[in-house]
Amino acid sequence: MTPERFQQIEELYHAARESTADERAVLLAQTEPELRREIESLLAGRGRGDVEKYKHQLASWKTEVVGQLRKTQSFQYDSSGNGASRRSPDNGVLTYHYDPLNRLSTPTIP
């Protein structure tokens, strides 16, 4: 692993740790798939007590987040591996839109 790559991981990991669950979902959805999986696997290792758990189901491109408030959110990814929508009990489905360069433009709440 290059120092540059580790620095990317480090910055994103701390940003994810220091955000709310909603901010984190947007942050991870904006991140390229390989880096995102790296961050998710680090966050998953912390899954004890009040820390969020990330369950990875690679086959279905689905990540389930079990949050501090015992809410369950699920992410459905599109074919490019980006987060396309998030389903949670409190605010329904959050859909992510991407521009032609595959960058997140807006999450919209229906």
Binding site: M1, P3, H14, L43, A44, G45, R46
Partner: protein, 195 residues
């Protein structure tokens, strides 16, 4: 050489190292390492003891024995503990190997990084697994790996790590958080591979 002279000499070396003389560290280590190893062995050999002594206790004991504490500033004390933490790691790894502990095979090694390493007479595969994971991690993240070494093997407090590594308290907390997540992930991969 009397204890007094030795203590004055060691205190002097600690001060020289702290004010930027790298050669002083080597000479200091030559005096501290055998003492720490002897004390650790003595404890680990004694089967009648409860065998749950934390490495922190030993680090403090060797500090009190070898250093003239009235002449040392708290930053220098933190530097001493940092050096001793590195030594404790080596002593524990060597002892685990000598007792015939092996890294792989059998049930999963349990490492609780939130506790401080303990001196035990039992073979300990988790020490070897952690040592290996920490060495690999130090190749890509030397500062973060150092934070783990100081905290886990030497029992340094956050303030002592701040002083020893000259980084901010926030950096210490973030480094520890990331390092722990990283190492637990690496160790759980190791378990998957070995089973």
């Amino acid at each position: 050489m009397s204890i007094g002279a030795s203590s004055a000499e060691i205190t002097g070396l600690l001060k020289s190292w702290n004010s930027g003389d790298p050669a002083a560290l080597d000479r200091l280590a030559e005096r501290v390492y055998p003492e720490l190893r002897l004390m650790a062995r003595r404890h680990m050999k004694n089967e009648r003891q409860a065998n749950t002594l934390q490495t922190t206790a030993l680090v403090h004991e060797v500090y009190l024995r070898l250093v003239d504490v009235t002449k040392v500033e708290w930053r220098e004390r933190a530097q001493f503990f940092a050096m001793a933490a590195q030594m404790m790691r080596r002593i524990l790894v060597d002892a685990a190997r000598a007792r015939g502990a092996h890294k792989r095979g059998g049930s999963a090694p349990q490492v609780n990084l939130d506790e401080i390493a303990q001196l035990s007479s039992a073979p300990d595969r988790s020490i070897l697994a952690l040592d290996e994971a920490l060495t690999a991690f130090s190749q890509i993240a030397p500062r973060q790996a150092k934070v783990v070494e100081l905290r886990y093997f030497g029992g340094l407090t956050e303030e002592e790590i701040v002083a020893a590594l000259k980084i901010s308290p926030r950096t210490v907390r973030r480094d520890w958080d990331l390092a722990k997540a990283w190492l637990l992930r690496e160790l759980s991969h190791r378990i998957e591979r070995s089973t």
